[in-house]
Symmetry: C2
Amino acid sequence: MKCGRCRAPAVIDVRRHNAGYCRDCFVRHCGEQVRRAVEQFDMIRPGERVLVAVSGGKDSLGLWQLLRELGYEADGLCLGLGIGEYSDASTRHTRAFASERDLRLLEVDLASEYGFDVENGARVAHRAPCSACGLSKRHLFNASAIEHGYDVVATGHNLDDEAAVLFGNVLRWETEYLGRQHPVLPASPGFVRKVKPLIRLSEREMAAYCVLSDIDYIVEECPMAAGNRHLGYKNALNEIEERSPGTKAAFVLGFLERGHDRFTDEVAEARAELRPCTQCGAPTPGDVCAFCRMRARAIGAPIAVRSES
Amino acid sequence: MKCGRCRAPAVIDVRRHNAGYCRDCFVRHCGEQVRRAVEQFDMIRPGERVLVAVSGGKDSLGLWQLLRELGYEADGLCLGLGIGEYSDASTRHTRAFASERDLRLLEVDLASEYGFDVENGARVAHRAPCSACGLSKRHLFNASAIEHGYDVVATGHNLDDEAAVLFGNVLRWETEYLGRQHPVLPASPGFVRKVKPLIRLSEREMAAYCVLSDIDYIVEECPMAAGNRHLGYKNALNEIEERSPGTKAAFVLGFLERGHDRFTDEVAEARAELRPCTQCGAPTPGDVCAFCRMRARAIGAPIAVRSES
């Protein structure tokens, strides 16, 4: 097989695009897909400072590199979530990536700065570990971005991630989640903008991008996620994609074109009801945000509630 | 395992309902699910005449029996579609079922009454066989119901069928099809009401219902359907259902509760633009309906078009 762009020998084929690529053209293809996503959804404007949420995996390290190569001022944020050897390896890969390229990396450690980790947070809050972890990450990415003056948080969710989440939301017709599922969550009081520039690139493309770009990423998946529903949805979609290449992209991009806007009513309502958390100031529908409630339970601290009147 | 209702030994368990049933209680359960569906969606009103679209398979024969046992005046319609031995066996099973129970069965033979069969209709119309077959069935069920004065056409689409079709429509965000996907299509000029009373019963439940009710149905699936996309979607959903019983029901019923109405805009527009087919009088967006166009190509007849002006 030859590269469809320059006729050199191809090193990868992307069935969805019915195309083969040589190394250089594939790396360029990935950059173009990110640029298209950023432009199509107006993710990052000129001069804005971007904070990339980095786990040390292929998606987040690949995203960081792609954004830098497209010329964005993108720094990294690495969270210590306390998930044993996985978290340690994640931090090691991230630090090595940043120092080799002389990039600025912020770090926040859940245990030393907040007094708990994902595992005991999940236990006390009666949440699945992936739920407690997601809650913590969303909270800390946003808080750090505000603290350090970033305009945008960029996360490495790829096409496969978005397709699996969309599939789960559709299977249960989680209408509010469907209204929130978009590659751009606009800024609002207390929230910086959140963007997903890898929406047009698959898991396999990101792995290939890292290998072909000499990015040394952590290959292990988080041990807490093994066997979760999300992976079942990914498998189901992979089987369909295998028979009909392009199904996942059509599913996610078709939703954004023709589905998403039909589900935004509840999101607007929910957003209008937010007020600052009495503990940390983050927007929340109640008095105390879910992160501060989980933390208070985990460290056994009382929660100061808003006084009545 | 014991029957959850009467404590007799169970002959089947339905994981979605987390319940086992003995023969009699299971047959009653199936009747209740049909009654609930008919009531919830206002499918059939007292005194209305129902025409059941019958293929000789478990769903359509089971549906016919269930509707009769619930007291509805339900007759059958069997189409000769010319799909070789499959069609012959389908007709044999249907005739035997009707004559053993002394039920009224209408028959329409595509080849002898319209001059073509599904296979050559598909070829000349450049349609997949399942598409040509579906088009023919929809046309003939509706035309026969009108000709013989029925108020409602009932089809044997079960929960698995609806879930697979919904999955396909959602994967491609076919917004107009999503707006049409409902267990009741209301009557409109030129169309009788179409209903799907098995929406709350799975494929497996219908097979068990027929076995336990001594209904001798054709077990073979249509040979034309082998390997089609629809079956791929069913398999994907079955794997998810296996891990999370109830997923399919939540998917279909959740869509009807919280999704469907968000997609009805285009359906109303499309319906407003229909006018009678110049050949057969059935409502169509053009001059000649898709069935009459397919037939004209298949038999080499000219199509009379509406004169300009």
